[in-house]
């Protein structure tokens, strides 16, 4: 490593600075922060700026300078675009507002110095470049900017220093050391306070901003700083908002490398100007690169140690398959991470010391147990607090291994420690009395069987949760830097193995378990352990982050090259044959069949018709546009792409050809890129600009088909753990006319072990599903689907479908469906009715005698939260039972979907049999995410643990909702993961900007409610006395009518009055649902915010009301003890006090924000109606409802005022726009 003096010759100006100050170092005080100040220098930039020729490309400019490879410091190539200056001027203004308004207002001493410095920094319009290599840019013109008048390009030599920006506005200059980590520079500048820096923002010389996690509890891999980098490193105690740090770093990235520091030398007072730390010592030893801590799974598949869980989770969108064995248990676990805060999954446990069943039934097969687990993260780790999680093992299963736990984990460097409590199986050592027994003695013992929650398995044994004695669990995990692919684990097992489900298990001779994990690859771990003091454990784990799965399409035919001008031979596309070839080319490039092409005016319209398929529509649209630009006449200035599916209108895109071409033949600065790509989908049927001359139309008849491998597994039955069939599956899709199509599928079974398949599960219900074995085993060649369908669009937003034939492998029949699905709506409503008959076991054309009518009313809801969709489907099922099916699923940006479903009908758990009710987990993955060849299809995995007859649905292969997926607002949003975006600041994690450090979103919502409540208390305290006097007067005055109205209510207890009273009492529930819908994004951001304010108000008012009840304890009218019967404060039954009416209070708390924001006083009448109901039901006196209403109105109004009065840095409202920009807005007083 070079000594301090040997800075590179190229860093001219800063080299002179450092050489000048070196003689002074020996005299400088030996204390941090008092190093030598860098003398200011004239503002001549050390850069080589050469005028651009408007219209030339960056590659041309570089070649003119003799820099074909970008020069000796490619990161120092700076492109300043005049186009970007207005936006960046806004950034600067916002930043100054934060610094001078928010931070200064909070008393931050350094904020004025920051503000002065920022004020002096120029607005440059800098745009990061993907490459400074002229020869690369020449070949990739879409990455080669076209320079405009007013643009500037400059190069520079590597500055030779790295600057650390401290939170006291001091800038510390250090010599650049190749490969040195950001943490080392920060440590050099802060000294012993460096450990208070959790996160630093590294503004690299090339204009990229990267967040570096530096602390022992959060260290993760990061790029080292480049020469000229600025490291913004606030200490946690200073409390800079995350958003402000991101903004600051983003603005600093607009400055040329090293120049911001130069300006600081001019702008700041000498005591604050950049300095070299007096005691800085250059080390020849590079600091070790920080590493992520690899958290592997435990024997149960959950993230944890060996037998015990930790509070750690997998990355969001991950899966993990774990196969583990420690006698007598072999476990196959599949865990999913649908959210950052939820890890859940299922397992099969092979219990070697117990037979599955009677030998005649299942031979010598060992017992198989199914179970479901869930773990919830309660809080994220910080510098001073651990990560905490609450979990459940064998949540819904036989309950053999039922456990609950609360565990905390904390990291320090290469060590991770966990400590917690476990109940149930994991806590069977049971050395502790249940701490919850202090609240209720019921927690002291752990119930089993029916008293816990059921005897048929599959039910949530909530009666046993956290009951019984507990045990301490915990352990350590060590990941040595000197052995990077290994982890070592040690844990205190909470189970002593004295009470195993089946006899024959040797009790533990030691509570200490030890293990070692080897990371065989990025997706596989091997583990070996020694548990209980006498057992060997082995396990294999396979895992990946499905939400990030992506693969380049190296096997796709490349699209036509995009050239600036329409090719001359595009005019030749005049014959029908030529257009037919273009349609074929569009099909090859996109996988979308073309229904028609029309030309007219300046518009070319292409209609694509089924199957639109799964996802990644934007990439396909780009390919289609490349084809159209290549072959369309030059006069076609607009392309309209219309998507229909079997004639059902989906969505439409209108693209300005020139804008699209511009964006694809040069690198545009962000503002111009946004303008060029400002294309929003619209409903089908908009103006097509005269494109009414059909140049191509596909025949209305078509036939598509394919053959693929087929594999059908059945897992966990008594005949064998895996009963399977493998073969081929042939399918076809035939279009028979406009809106009429036929689907069919034939399976051929080639390889199977069906000779073992003998068991039919018993059932108390009609055998609508439990006889599936006969269907699978009777015939080798089976017709699994053959149906004709006809669909119609009844209006712009409603659709109908009729169908008949072999609907699925067990049922044939006819049916119809209606769907109301507005374009781009969060909601859809559908109804389907089917008359079906069970098919013959050979799955040919014969039918059995069982017939039934099934149907559903289905509500589809895109919640707008974390891309979660939900359906509720109420109806009649195959066995004649009636009930509802619920599904919840989350779809990630790359199309990967994780979901659950369950069905509850009027069939009791006993009638249903084993499992109690139908439930399952499903996982969908687009082929596009895992194959190098584009495909429109999905892989779908469904785990349905038991096939029973209750809650059995007809498995229709096609539904109107799936046929209208193109109407979903996310249709164009799905994309391949891992796209490289090089816009300024987008290395930042936009989701984290909105995070307050709490777990998103549940505890962040709770934190918001708590914060609002604290402020509300202050607002109440600050109310003038007149307010309270007025309220007291109104309540007191209304009390005069308590007795007469109570008498009136007592005399009006007839059916109609009771009905009115009951409906009025339900008003708060309807209002709450309405506020909830508003808060999920059904409308605009104001409705969203107001809905959330209303919900918070309701929660806070409920709490206030409870306090009043406990304090007053007034008898209700129905007690008949008169209007003035009071118990003492906190008396027995005080929680049921008549004063105040919580129904009325909550109702007013809910409506007040809406009534005031939207000037709709009529809403108060809805809330007031609740009072009628409560009085009629003799639950409250008039004065109780007046008091409740007044306080509810106050709470609603004051909470709304908090929404309106949010200040910068303290309740700034954030919205994430559809263009993925963050907007912060507030109103200044």
């Amino acid at each position: 490593m070079k000594p301090a003096l040997a800075v590179p010759q190229q860093s001219r100006v800063l080299t002179r600075q450092i050489l000048l100050i070196l003689p002074w170092l020996a005299l400088a005080p030996d204390s941090w922060g008092n190093g030598q100040t860098v003398p200011p220098t004239p503002p001549s930039a050390p850069m080589n700026a050469t005028a651009v020729r408007p219209g030339e490309r960056l590659s041309d400019w570089l070649l003119r300078q003799g820099l074909p490879a970008g020069g000796s410091f490619p990161a120092g190539l700076v492109w300043q675009s005049a186009n970007e200056k207005p936006d960046q001027a806004d950034w600067k203004r916002e930043l100054l507002l934060w610094l001078r308004g928010g931070l200064s207002g909070r008393g931050d001493q350094a904020a004025p110095a920051f503000a002065d410095w920022i004020q002096h920094l120029p607005v440059t319009g800098r745009v990061p470049l993907p490459s400074a290599d002229a020869r690369l840019l020449q070949a990739r013109i879409q990455e080669d900017p076209v320079l405009a008048a007013g643009d500037e390009i400059s190069t520079m030599a590597a500055p030779g220093t790295v600057a650390v920006l401290r939170d006291d506005a001091r800038i510390c200059l250090l010599p650049f050391v190749a490969g040195q980590q950001a943490g080392a520079y920060v440590a050099a500048c802060y000294g012993q306070n460096a450990d208070q820096v959790d996160v630093a923002w590294v503004v690299q010389a090339d204009g990229h901003v990267q967040r570096a996690r530096l602390a022992e509890w959060n260290a993760s891999p990061q790029d080292p700083p480049t020469p000229g980098a600025v490291i913004w490193s606030p200490r946690r105690e200073v409390g800079w908002p995350l958003l402000l740090s991101e903004r600051l770093a983003r603005f600093l990235a607009t400055q040329a490398p090293g120049s911001a520091v130069l300006v600081a030398g001019l702008a700041m007072a000498p005591a604050e100007a950049p300095y070299v730390p007096a005691a800085f010592k250059l080390s020849s030893q590079l600091s070790l690169a920080p590493r992520d801590f690899h958290f592997s799974g435990n024997d149960w598949g959950t993230t944890g140690l060996l037998q015990t869980p930790t509070a750690r989770m997998m990355p969001e969108g991950s899966y993990r398959v774990t196969l583990s064995h420690v006698y007598p248990y072999g476990r196959a676990n599949i865990m999913l991470q649908p959210f950052e805060w939820l890890e859940a999954g299922f397992r099969y446990t092979n219990i070697q010391n117990e037979l599955y069943g009677p030998t005649a039934l299942s031979g010598t097969q060992a017992y198989k147990d199914k179970s479901v687990d869930a773990k919830l993260k309660l809080s994220r780790e910080s510098a001073t607090s651990p990560e905490v999680a609450l979990g459940f093992v064998d949540l819904a299963g036989t309950g053999l291994f039922s456990s609950e736990y609360l565990v905390a984990s904390k990291r320090k460097g290469d060590w991770d420690a966990s400590l917690g409590l476990a109940w149930g199986y994991l806590g069977n050592r049971a050395e502790l009395r249940n701490p919850l027994a202090a609240a209720s003695s019921a927690f002291a013992t752990r119930p089993t069987g029916a008293s816990a929650g059921g005897t048929t398995g599959g039910q949530l044994a909530t009666g046993a949760f956290f009951h019984g004695p507990a045990s301490i669990i915990g352990g350590l995990q060590y990941q040595p830097a000197w052995l990077p692919n290994w982890q070592f684990k040690a844990e205190l097992d909470g189970n002593n193995y004295h009470g195993e489900p089946f006899p024959g298990v040797k009790p533990a001779t030691s509570p200490l378990n030890l293990g070692v994990v080897y990371n065989a690859s990025n997706n596989a771990d091997l583990s070996v352990g020694f548990e209980r003091g006498n057992q060997l454990m082995v396990s294999l784990q396979l895992y990946d982050q499905l939400s990030q799965a992506h693969i380049p399409k190296v096997l796709d035919t490349p699209p036509p090259e995009v050239l600036p001008e329409s090719p001359a031979d595009a005019a030749a596309a005049a014959s029908r044959e030529a257009w037919a070839q273009i349609a074929q080319l569009l099909l090859e490039q996109t996988g979308w069949p073309v229904k028609s092409i029309a030309l007219g005016g300046n518009t070319l319209q292409v209609v694509f018709d089924p199957p639109i398929g799964a996802l990644y529509a934007r990439e396909r649209v780009d390919r289609a546009l490349a084809v159209l630009h290549r072959y369309a006449p030059a006069g076609a200035l607009r392309f309209v792409l219309t998507f229909t599916e079997y004639g059902l209108p989906q969505t439409e895109l209108v693209v300005r050809r020139a804008d699209w071409v511009t964006d694809h033949i040069s690198r545009l600065p962000p503002s111009a890129h946004r303008a060029a790509t400002d294309v929003h989908p619209r409903p089908v049927g908009g103006d097509v600009g005269g494109a009414d001359t059909a140049v191509y139309s596909r025949p209305s008849y078509s036939l598509n088909g394919g053959i693929a491998p087929m594999f059908h597994p059945n897992i966990g039955g008594p005949d064998g753990f895996l009963i399977y069939a493998a073969g081929v599956s042939a399918s076809f899709d035939a279009q028979l006319g406009e809106g009429t199509f036929a689907l069919g599928n034939v399976d051929g079974r080639i390889l199977d072990n069906y000779s073992l398949f003998k068991f039919d599960a018993p059932s108390l219900l009609p055998h609508v599903r439990t006889n599936f074995r006969q269907f699978l085993t009777t015939s080798r060649v089976t017709l699994t689907n053959l149906q004709v369908n006809h669909v119609e669009a009844l209006s712009d937003d409603s659709f109908a479908m009729a169908y008949g034939g072999v609907l699925e492998f067990m049922y044939a029949g006819v049916g119809g469906e209606y769907l109301y699905r507005p374009w781009n709506s969060h909601f859809a409503l559908g109804v389907d009715v089917n008359r079906v008959q069970q098919r013959g076991y050979d799955q040919r054309f014969d039918l059995q005698s069982y017939k039934t009518t099934v149907g559903n009313l289905t509500l589809y809801w895109d919640t707008g939260w974390e891309h979660v969709k939900s359906t509720v489907s109420y109806g009649r099922y195959l066995a004649g039972d009636v009930g509802a099916t619920f599904t919840f699923n989350r779809t990630f940006d790359n199309g990967a979907t994780m979901g659950i479903f369950f069905t509850k009908t009027n069939v009791s758990a006993a009638q249903y049999g084993e499992g109690s009710f139908d439930k399952g987990i499903f996982l969908n993955l687009p082929f596009d995410a895992v194959l190098p060849k584009s495909s429109s299809n999905l892989m779908s995995f469904v785990w349905d643990p038991l096939v029973r007859d209750g809650g059995a649905r007809l498995n229709r292969g096609v539904s109107l909702y799936s046929l209208t997926d193109g109407r979903d607002e996310r249709f164009f949003d799905y994309h391949a993961a891992g796209r490289n975006r090089w816009d300024l600041g987008d290395d930042a994690d936009l989701d984290a900007l909105a995070s307050s450090g709490q777990v998103h979103p549940i505890t962040s919502l709770a934190a918001d409610v708590g914060h609002t409540g604290v402020r509300l208390a202050g607002q109440f305290w600050n109310q003038p006395a007149s307010t309270w006097l007025t309220a007291a007067g109104l309540i007191g005055g209304s009390a005069l009518l308590d007795k007469p109205l109570a008498s009136f209510a007592a005399k009006h207890q007839t059916a109609i009055y009771n009905r009115l009273g009951s409906d009025a009492t339900a008003m708060p529930y309807f209002l709450a649902v309405g506020a909830g819908l508003a808060a999920t994004g059904t409308g605009d951001s104001l409705l969203d915010q107001t809905g959330w304010t209303a919900l918070k108000s309701a929660l806070l008012d409920y709490g206030l009301n409870l306090g009043a009840k406990l304090a007053v304890d007034r008898a209700r009218p129905v007690a008949g003890t008169g209007t003035y019967q009071f118990g003492g404060p906190l008396g027995k039954g005080a929680a049921n006090s008549s004063f105040m009416s919580e129904h009325v209070g909550v109702a007013f708390a809910l409506v007040t924000p809406f009534a005031q924001i939207y000037n709709a006083p009529a809403l108060y009448a809805l809330a007031g109606a609740t009072a009628f109901g409560r009085i009629q039901q003799q639950q409250h006196f008039l004065s109780d409802t007046v008091a409740g209403g007044l306080f509810g109105y106050m709470v609603g109004g004051l909470t709304l005022s908090q929404q309106r009065d949010a200040r910068p840095g303290e309740g700034v409202r954030l919205s994430i726009g559809t263009d993925r920009t963050i907007r912060a807005y507030w109103e200044l007083p």
Binding site: P8, L63, R64, G66, L67, P68, A69, S72, P74, A75, S131, A132, D133, R135, L136, Q138, A139, R140, I141, A158, A178, G179, Q204, H208, Q210, D223, P224, P225, T226, P227, I551, P552, V554, L555, P558, G706, I707, A708, P709, M710, F711, H712, S729, A730, S731, D733, N745, L925, F927, V930, L931, P932, K933, S934, S935, N937, L938, M939, S940, F941
Partner: protein, 249 residues
């Protein structure tokens, strides 16, 4: 000053010969992921995705050499390059710099760039790992000529992306070696070339396999073949193509 470049290709935009599959990009990831993807898709039993699966299978199991049996354009110069064992033909686009130390700029079909100077790799662009600002502050010694000759130690400095790795210094040394039996040399007897190994003595590349060069025996400074690992999983070979005429007699 304008670069002294000789444009080798007929015109710009560069019309690189279209060779299916001749781009690298992420071939290796494709290879690693594709088997899993195929297994997953089989398990999912989705029949209408079959064509993508079939194409993937043929790409994985039956991958053929896209550089074999290709009709070459006699007006272009080619370099057969492999990345992780997967071959592609690159075309010479430009020669930059003075005649005494010209840099050859080679292009793949996917518009990836490989720079060679005197047969030595001095840069990549558009790939998943790119070397930039490669320089030899002390110059480069002559290729050893004897069977056991070792050159003086010399320095190399480079930057690498992704990762913002800047000004990484290494010291290297050249050593004559016997013709290796495990090189990526194609259709040519290694014994016909003189071999030199370039080993990193200090610096980030010390743990990587040494680079190797096969030089013409007739023209001692003409590099016919080279191989170098830029990272553990990123190893390139390059060889003048076609073989006929690549080795001066």
């Amino acid at each position: 000053m304008p670069v002294a470049a000789r444009s080798v290709s007929p015109s710009l935009p560069l019309k690189v010969q279209a060779l299916p599959g001749s781009g690298f990009l992420l071939q290796k990831r494709f290879q690693r992921v594709a088997p899993l993807a195929v297994v997953l898709s089989l398990l999912a039993a989705c029949s209408t995705g079959a064509s993508a699966v079939r194409t993937t299978l043929s790409g994985v199991v039956f991958e053929n050499d896209p550089t074999a049996n290709v009709a070459l354009n006699s007006k272009l110069f080619y370099e057969r390059v492999t990345l992780g064992g997967h071959p592609a033909l690159l075309v010479l686009g430009f020669e930059d710099g003075p005649a005494a130390g010209k840099t050859e700029v080679w292009y793949s079909h996917e518009r990836e760039v490989l720079r060679l100077q005197g047969g030595r790799l001095i840069g990549t662009a558009g790939m998943t790992l790119n070397w930039t600002a490669v320089s030899f502050p002390d110059g480069v010694p002559a290729w050893p000529t004897g069977d056991t000759e070792t050159s003086a130690v010399f320095r190399r400095r480079h930057s690498a992306e992704p990762g913002h790795l800047t000004d990484l210094d290494e010291t290297l040394q050249l050593t004559s070696i016997a013709p290796p039996s495990n090189s990526g040399l194609k259709d040519l007897d290694p014994a016909k070339l003189r071999w030199v190994e370039e080993r990193v003595l200090t610096g980030v590349g010390r743990a990587l396999p040494p680079a190797r060069y096969g030089l013409s025996r007739a023209l001692p400074s003409r590099v016919v073949y080279g191989e170098q690992c830029l990272a553990g999983a990123f190893c390139l070979t390059w060889q003048r193509w076609p073989v006929t005429g690549a080795v001066p007699e």
